[in-house]
Symmetry: C2
Subunit: 177 residues, 2 copies
Amino acid sequence: MERDETRRGLVILYTGDGKGKTSAALGMLLRARGWEMRVVMRQFVKSRGLRAGEHRAALRLDVAIRAEGAGFTNRSEDRTADVAAARECWEACRAALADPTCDVLICDEITYPLRYGWLPVGEVLAALRDRPAHQHVVLTGRDALPELIDVADLVTEMRMCKHPHSLGVAAQKGVEF
Amino acid sequence: MERDETRRGLVILYTGDGKGKTSAALGMLLRARGWEMRVVMRQFVKSRGLRAGEHRAALRLDVAIRAEGAGFTNRSEDRTADVAAARECWEACRAALADPTCDVLICDEITYPLRYGWLPVGEVLAALRDRPAHQHVVLTGRDALPELIDVADLVTEMRMCKHPHSLGVAAQKGVEF
């Protein structure tokens, strides 16, 4: 792809408690692939090895979305596995943030490890600040720290107005995974 | 694809003034294509013949997104072309709503012709109600009519918290188109 160096990469944050945050990030992946931009996507919460619809379809667009979460067991107070998984996922994101061949980086559900203190926010902010000037970054997840909102160029809050779980409908293939 | 007839198709509405509504719909397209679900996507406002990033990438997933808008000229009070374009786009959506081989239908920016009275909302509601039971429908656009919110199973309002246009950054390839 020709890189237009006069363009400035944006930090885009999709937050809030409504559905559509990861879907919007996936839409950005699709759109960027239509221009042959190089996309990296890492998922902080979804369990390692997950192969849902988005993972399968993205492969057809030559993007290997990697889920790296420890699965949020909630079974113990020992967060060692969660912290290690967040660190590993972050190191992959940090490598992409230092890579000028990466045009779009999607850090899916990064707000959670930041909110829980599993990743130091200062380290994330510094890597965002120092990234290649053309690179777009998409961050998703509820309950974003104020520091993340400050650093983002575009912030959309997804507000849940109506949700099918409350209507007794199970999670559906092709909709939620 | 095997159809699981115990599943109920959902009507999903992405509305509000924030960015991410069409992107979220595109994410649903990607996810559904990962399961080989058949997706139809029509765009009520974007100009006919548009070939933006999403159109290009979707073709690689065997989905031909069709933009059918007259381009919202705003140059005259004569809305004949807009109304005709909305009608044509709606007829394509209505055909998909009657087609049991369509698993996911995306009506992008359908809220506008409904809000402007270019399409009768009763006709749209009836076609949604009578569609195949397994079919998911995604509706997008600002300022959805209350009748559309009522009929939707899942409604997310995208709230604009921060927008790059207000920061003097132009629309960017791979982000907004």
